[in-house]
């Protein structure tokens, strides 16, 4: 076992204004390849486990979309000598939480226990990861609940908008597929599928484990080694990642019909950059000016000046092999076209000229000032440490963050905006609302319009 302790931050006195005092992180890689990070947190008597298993919906076999999600859901339904109900009772009797959910690139398994229950919590986590039962009846229950969840989500206009936007923009690329899968595929999933997915991908050499809590790193590491040392590695557990998605060239509109809606949900965007792209930080600063916080250009133009909406935002959804820039807002049905046109104009205008100096300074101050608050909770710190490792970012990502933001020039930010924010003429637009009222409003002003029912979006993700 190799143990390497990195002091990610130095103690109090030596800190410069831009450095951040964080607990030291002890790193180790077990013989089976499990990458472990432990940080001590002494404010509250809590223990946080945060694991990323490096496979998700992108590894769903064709025709079995939704399998990663089903595997994660069944993972905590019985393990070792405990049935599903016994396991839930054991976790909840401690006031603890333990759950798993699949994203596209990875699956997150996370748990939280009181510090006094560390041994019991670790034992439960170990059982779930190494010895899940996957009983036939539990797989069936989890599958039925997954199907019901897909139906229930059709009631949520913003959930429909997010799902339809990803499918419309990415098409058959894994980032366009909803992790919960297509209903016709989920219906056919069974115990064998779940077990095969688990056996293939849930391996220590494909997993990152972060532990943050009220404990001594040295002792914790010994316990982790005892708990997970016997977990067997497999050479083919590291997935081949999906190719980077390609941007689309022509603007087009997907109109999703919600005949009862009095408010329209809007999303648009295009393919942008991966999390590990060197431009990610300047792009984030640019986005903060355009659509982050309460004083963004979008808030100013759509909300403050015109009262068209309650919220407007933009973001880079940056993931392992690619990502997208997306902008979102909502407005009452009659002002849909006006709001969409204005949002496109604001976005296009912003990316095509350098940001004003005061706006840039404000965005930088905002990101730097808020950064310590994003890491103060032990669960947030654990998630951030795991993500940095998973994305292949430098180990000093957190401690140097504020310095790197401060060092960005107006040119850096303007270049990133121009390069990674889409021209409005190329974006994929999703409009969720009352189609009968919206179709004449939209006309062909924003590009060709395709009208679908909300449940059809899962099929968009299946087509090229």
């Amino acid at each position: 076992v190799k143990v390497l302790t990195l002091l990610l931050a130095l103690g109090g006195a030596a800190l410069g204004a831009d450095e951040l005092s964080l607990p030291p992180v002890t790193r180790a890689t077990l013989d089976n390849g499990l990458r472990v990070m432990v940080a001590e947190y002494r404010e509250l008597p809590l223990i946080e486990f945060y694991l990323i298993v490096g496979a998700g919906a992108a590894q769903d076999p064709p025709g079995k979309e939704g399998l990663a999600t089903l595997t994660a859901a069944t993972l905590t339904r019985g393990a070792g000598e405990r049935s599903a109900t016994e396991l839930a009772r054991a976790i909840e009797s401690l006031g603890g939480q333990l759950g798993a959910s699949a994203g596209t690139d990875g699956t997150i398994v996370s748990g939280e226990f009181l510090a006094q229950d560390f041994p019991a919590g670790l034992d439960l986590l170990r059982a779930v990861l190494l010895d899940p039962r996957f009983e036939r009846d539990e797989v069936r229950r989890a599958r039925d609940e997954q199907l019901a969840g897909i139906v229930a989500a059709l009631e949520e206009p913003s959930a429909i908008a997010e799902k339809c936007y990803a499918a419309f923009l990415y098409g058959a690329h894994p980032y366009g597929r909803p992790a919960e899968g297509r209903r016709d595929a989920v219906r056919r999933l069974g115990r064998g599928d779940v077990r095969a997915y688990y056996e293939r991908w849930y391996r220590p050499n494909n997993t990152i484990l972060v532990l943050v809590g009220d404990l001594t790193a040295r002792d914790a590491l010994i316990r982790l080694r005892e708990a997970f040392g016997a977990w067997r590695a497999a050479p083919d557990a590291i997935p081949q990642r999906a190719a980077a998605p390609e941007p689309q060239r022509e603007r087009r509109v997907l109109l999703v019909d919600k005949p009862d809606a009095t408010q329209t949900q809007l999303r648009f965007g295009n393919i942008a950059l991966a999390r590990s792209h060197p431009d990610h930080l300047p792009a984030t600063v640019a986005n903060t000016i355009l659509g982050g916080g309460f004083t963004s250009r979008l808030i100013e133009e759509l909300r403050v000046k015109r009262s068209l909406t309650y919220a407007a935002w933009s973001m880079f959804a940056a993931r392992l092999t690619g990502g997208d820039f997306r902008l979102g807002t909502f407005t009452k049905s009659p002002t849909t076209a006006e709001t969409l046109a204005l949002a496109l104009e604001v976005e296009g205008d912003f990316r095509s000229r350098p940001p004003a100096r005061p706006a840039l300074d404000k965005a930088k101050a905002y990101l730097r000032g808020q950064f310590p608050l994003k890491l103060e909770s032990p669960d947030a710190l654990a998630a951030r440490l795991a993500d940095i490792e998973f994305q292949g970012l430098p180990a000093d990502e957190l401690t140097t963050y504020r310095h790197r933001v401060a060092a960005l020039t107006p040119d850096d930010v303007a270049r990133a905006a121009a390069r990674h924010m889409p021209t409005p003429e190329t974006v994929a637009i999703v409009v969720v609302g009352k189609a009968a009222e919206l179709r004449p409003q939209l006309g062909d002003r924003f590009g060709p319009v395709e009208t679908v029912q909300p449940e059809a979006c899962e099929e968009l993700a299946a087509r090229d």
Binding site: G95, A152, G369
Partner: protein, 441 residues
Amino acid sequence: VARRLSILCVALVALPGSLCAIELPVVAHTLPNGLRVLLHEDHSAPAISSYIFFRSGSRNERYGTTGIAHLFEHMMFNGGRKYGPGAFDDQIEGNGGSTNGYTSRDITAYLNNFPREALPLVLDLESDRMGHLALTPENLEQERGIVMEERRLRIDNQVTGVMHEALYLHAFVRSPYRWNTVGFMGDLKRITLADARAYFESSYAPNNAVLVLAGDLEPDATLALVRRYFGGLPRRPAPEPVDASEPPQEGERRVTVRKAAELPAVLIGWHGVRMLDPDRPVFDVMDRLLAGGDSARLDQDLVRAHEVATEVGADSGWGIDPELFTVYAQARPGKTAATLETRIDAVMTALAEERVSDDELRKAKNQLRADFIRSLKSVSGKANQLGYFEAAFGDYRGLFGLEAAWEAVSAEDVQRVARSHLVRAQRTVVVLEPLARGSAG
């Protein structure tokens, strides 16, 4: 340098083993103008969280101007005397802070999370708007449209939003708890600048407010700063007391909501007790017994044993006046609301008829304690809890009594309160009948 502890562990005989009750060290002070100040030191991050609570929410509204407390919360960001329109958000974000506000039935809260260097600026900004908010037609008209959009988002286009609004409107007859905090669309349209002025005069006085600062601060110097920025604001007459007394409910009330939706659902509310009632912790325990996770009773019955629900939930509301204890269930495809109700009835009957086991009671209490600890992970979470208890319930120390109060709940208490309060005659049932998309409502 020895670090001062930001969380104290106080031995509590009633808690088993080596457990202790959590207390946060607080310096409390009241300025001559009545402003209540709570300071909590926590040096774990170079940041401070500020909260200002006004003891005024939609509970303090009247018919015709419902929604004004929340509309007013929006207006508070649009300029005072020293800082003009847009300056509040600009100054906060430009100095590395974030800002927000929220309104509930009982209180209105304004929060900022910011680097410690920005403390004097934040106090100046807060004092400027507390003392001298610019009540202009532009400010009102801008926020009126935005709040109407917020209502469309949270209520009108949200199935559970419509159900909750219907529940409170029918469960309460006289209490101002009956309307939703966002207000009726008709009232949002007609609220005038004079209404806003009157609301400001009655609710936004320093003697009706609690200021909480938590984080990387030094109490003595901070208190001096607070005096400097807030000491000059004049005391004003206290708002009129609210009489929220309800006529007794003499039988079950049933409401049907017909709305485009995918799945049937049921929301049931029983009249509970006020926050300071000695029986209120029993409702928290019942909330966890019923819906504190996959092993809880509603999950085990409706989701697991009978497979009729996609989702279940329970909520024991905390209020100055008696709140509702609610249970919610959404049906699986192909299952009906009537089936959900039958199963909920069976679960509620068992709670009243059979003594809860020691293990199950212990589980509920452990969950409450762990959730309480979870709520203290951030300086913002701590400031929020302290201020909420002080503003809504009169004493921040009520927060530190929660653990002991939960611990004291017995199996007999659960049975007694379930029998006295969670009864059919005291409940209001909202049934969602889904309409197919596109059919007329």
